[in-house]
Amino acid sequence: MRRRFFTLLATACLCLMTYGSASAAGAVSIWVALSETGGAHAEAAEALRAEVEQAQPGRIEWRIAHWSQFSSSVPEPHWIVAVGTAAQRGMQELFAGDPTPPPLLAILVPRLAFERIADPARLRGGSLSAVFLDQPPARQLELIRLALPAVRNVGILVSAESKAHGSGLEKAARERGMRLATSLVGQEGLFPALQSLLAEVEVLLALPDPAVFNSQSAANILTAAYRRHVPLVGFSPAYVKAGALLALYSTPAQVGTRGGEVLRQTLPGKLLPPPQWPREFAVAVNQDVARSLGFALDQSQLGEQMRQRERP
């Protein structure tokens, strides 16, 4: 199988140098299914492709398109990369009836979204994995400890959707001598939960959950927290622009590159590794907010210190 694979690959590689080239029988074909064809999804896909191509130039036959463009009637690819939640769902459903579906690597997906739709049997069997978009709990708490060393009480606002984040963050907080306060947004709405949380914490850690943090509620949360001198740590650069003190995030390119590394290591025919967090990340600081709240933070220094701590 393996010999045949490489023979075919060698034959095909000459005509597969170009991005999105026509399929050639026997080449290593990889579908990259995008939730959206532009923006972050395209950026992640491009970084993934570049990472794989850099190591094995011209060996792969790429087909990169919106997930709805793929159908199971054409020859199955060897690998599928789903960029985003909708693509992951679409690709899983496309091969739902297939007893041996091609391995699927989802990238740029939030952990909770991935886990909600992932087929547990495929996960166990190593034919499904992910590079998440979220940051590991330890990294998030480590940033708070590094940037705000006096903080002992960290608050999170969750809904039923996101409360699963609680246990990991709680453990990471405990390991750093901090306490995690969790406020559940229930039937009474966001505001009572936010107010009771702000009364007892020194920093608010925002978690991706559209029931809690969305473009409407972000303004209320940021202003209410600022009035109480409680800084917010966000999960995207948009939060820092909006008024969060800090944000810890991985760019689409960083997630895509990590996806490319995973794929590269797996291409020889190995099983997919377990789902993992992105390795590279960025730290952003809103200097105006930092100055106003009396914090002295250096964005590049903070990012470098964080990276140093994660180096083996």
Binding site: T85, V109, F191, A219, R228
Partner: protein
């Protein structure tokens, strides 16, 4: 999933609409890449203390609560350079640098952008300060110095900017009761409600005590206050406030010309403020204020066989419309500019000797530029031109430079010129006394304004240092200043026929110079120590005027968390001998030590606090006059939030 089952009978668009409710609440990568509006733009952020164009002390809600204070004036003694006295038990008064006025007429006080300065009689902020409910205050920012360039006339010796709590932060109910010595009986009830877009609050409060021993100085303050905060869109903030209250204060010393009596001030106000974020770098603000006050102080003065009705009652109204535009031109340059129009009226036959309503217009145009030519340098220049229908135009400029010598260490130098506008009384006062038994017979003419009085001016030079030693949790703020007052307003007798009424006249003022500093140190978790001290000298050539400021004025505050969640506070204040103007005596080194022990608790969803405060636990001290003592007093407070 219920939507899936519906799929067979519903068309695709309907399905999408129905399911959006479900999918919209599920996390996806869109949550990471969606755009957010700029919420905390620079104009919405508080200016960092190391970039303010002057020395600022901030006292937050936590410190106010733990200070055990019942009055704003008592809180202000924690600010370097602020003096606290009591003309009697019903008239607490704080003043900056010099005890040259016992009504707070040379200090500007803003509450959420509304000036509470009353220009009706002699110029007053102390009655307005008495009406404020401490429980509703978020923080008090005190500009130590003067700044008419930004705040207009009367931002002369100190600018107190009081920020009350946003209604969104006071949802739920709060009840507080305080009882103690000297008839202390304070009650506050508050209820707040609303949601993310609109929050409302109503506060009712009353405060009363019997003042000092052997004085007629009971006081009763009652207040009803409403505040609404609306956020109709992400870009708009609307604040609506209205309130009304009454302050009754015991007055008099029990002699014929100054008998015991109660002076009552009723007031009401409306404040509307709309702030719109035009772009992330531009903000527009529109403000409307209407205020009404009705002071009432009437008594029969007797001197020998002569009795006359003395009356300083009346009614004053103020209406103000202001707009302000702030914009960031680029990373290095910010501009704020705007204008205000103000219309004031006063009516009092006994004070102005006319039944007519007298009025004045003021209009203001102001602008300031903040320029950061280098990351270490911040230069700020500003100015305000004020037109006054009596005193004409005045210009108040300001220039400051902040140099961030090292991270967390800033040096500041500044020069500013400020004004105090003459009050209605100083401009138009005409007080005549008539025989009680024969109302046509004039027996005295106590005041007749010539109308020639000019605004007082103050030119301030200052050097400042602001340091933060993060490793040891210490902040240091020091300021050295030279303040040159000109055209100080005095009352001077002149001859008019058979009488010698006073007139408001200008005289060269004094030189005030000195240093002040504050240390704020948190050596351990749960411990906070604050030292605030001012060393002041007045030079004027007039011995009495030179005694209007103490050589040294110190406050030391210790906040300590104790085992069992107890909170302990000790505040010690002391001044070297000095004499308050307006009838005060030379008081010899008053020292006062206040202690407080509080115990916050929770009971289900109810949070509360029980506390005991003993003011002047060291036995009391003289205040204002030799025969007046602020004696030891203890009171207990129970507060519940639910």
């Amino acid at each position: 999933m219920p939507c899936r089952r519906l799929l067979a009978v519903l068309s695709a668009p309907t399905f999408a609409a129905l399911c959006s409710c479900v999918f919209a609440q599920e996390v996806s990568e869109k949550d990471y890449f969606g755009d957010l509006p700029v919420v905390l733009s620079v104009s919405r952020l508080a200016q960092p203390l190391d970039e303010t164009p002057g020395a600022v002390t901030v006292i937050d809600r936590e410190l106010i609560r733990r200070s055990g204070a019942r009055e704003v004036a008592e809180v202000l003694r924690l600010v370097p350079g602020f003096l606290l006295t009591y003309r009697n038990g019903a008239n607490p008064q704080a003043a900056y640098h010099a005890g040259m006025d016992t009504y707070g007429s040379r200090m500007q006080v803003y509450v959420d952008g509304r000036s509470i300065y009353s220009s009706f009689y002699l110029g007053d902020t102390h009655v307005g300060l008495r009406g404020l409910v401490l429980e509703d205050i978020e923080r008090i920012e005190v500009l130590r110095g003067s700044n008419s360039a930004s705040f207009g006339a009367n931002a002369f010796l100190g600018v107190v900017n009081i920020v009350t709590r946003n209604a969104a932060d006071t949802h739920g109910a709060m009840l507080s009761a305080t009882m103690g010595d000297k008839g202390i009986n304070d009650n506050v009830a508050r209820i707040g409600w609303g949601d993310e877009k609109a929050s409302f609050r109503i506060t009712g409060a009353r405060r009363g005590d019997r003042g000092f021993n052997n004085n007629y100085d009971d006081s009763h303050v009652s207040r009803l206050q409403f505040r609404a905060d609306l956020m109709p869109t992400v870009k708009d903030d609307v604040m609506i406030q209205f309130g009304a209250g009454e302050t009754s204060r015991g007055e008099g010393v029990g002699i014929g010309t100054n008998p015991f009596r109660s002076s009552i001030n009723a007031d009401a106000h409306l404040l509307l403020r709309w702030q719109r974020q035009l772009t992330p770098d531009q903000q527009f603000e529109l403000r409307f204020v209407h205020e009404r006050e009705a002071p009432k102080d009437t008594f029969i003065a007797t001197a020998g066989p002569i009795s006359a009705l003395v009356d300083t009652s009346g009614e004053g109204q103020r209406t103000e419309l202001g707009l302000q535009h702030s914009l960031r031109l680029d990373e290095a340059m910010r501009v704020v500019w705007g204008g205000e129009w103000r219309y004031e009226t006063a009516r009092s036959k006994p004070v102005f000797f006319t039944s007519d309503t007298i009025s004045l217009h003021q209009w203001r145009g102001f602008g300031s530029v903040e320029w950061r030519p280098h990351p270490q340098w911040l230069l700020q220049a500003g100015g305000m031109y004020e037109g006054h229908s009596y005193t004409g135009g005045t210009f108040s400029p300001r220039l400051t430079a902040n140099f961030h010598a090292l991270p967390d260490h800033t040096l500041r130098a500044g020069i500013t010129k400020s004004q105090r506008a003459p009050t209605f009384y100083e401009l138009r006062g005409d007080s005549r006394l008539y025989l009680l038994t024969a109302p046509a017979t004039q027996v005295a003419w106590t005041f007749l304004a010539s109308g020639n009085v000019k605004p007082e001016t103050l030119i301030t030079h200052e050097l400042g240092y602001l340091g933060r030693f993060r490793q040891i949790n210490l902040s240091v703020d020091a300021r050295a200043f030279v303040e040159r007052m000109n055209n100080r307003v005095w009352f001077s007798a002149r001859t008019v026929g058979a009488f010698t009424p006073n007139d408001a006249v200008n005289r060269p003022g004094s030189h005030i110079h000195g240093v002040e500093y504050q240390f704020d140190w948190r050596p351990f978790s749960g411990t906070r120590l604050m030292l605030a001290e001012a060393i002041t000298r007045i030079a004027s050539g007039d011995a009495a005027e030179e005694r209007e400021a103490p050589d040294r004025n110190t406050s030391l505050t210790w906040l300590q968390r104790l085992p069992g969640d107890l909170e302990f506070t000790a505040i010690s204040t002391a001044t070297t001998p000095f004499k308050w103007a307006g009838g005060g005596d030379l008081i010899n080194t008053p020292r006062r030590l206040d202690v407080r022990l509080g115990k916050p608790f929770t009971f289900g969803a109810t949070r509360g606090e029980a506390s005991i405060t003993v003011q002047a636990i060291n036995g009391g001290h003289q205040v204002y006059k030799l025969n007046q003592r602020f004696d030891r007093r203890a009171f207990a407070t129970l507060r519940l939030d639910f």
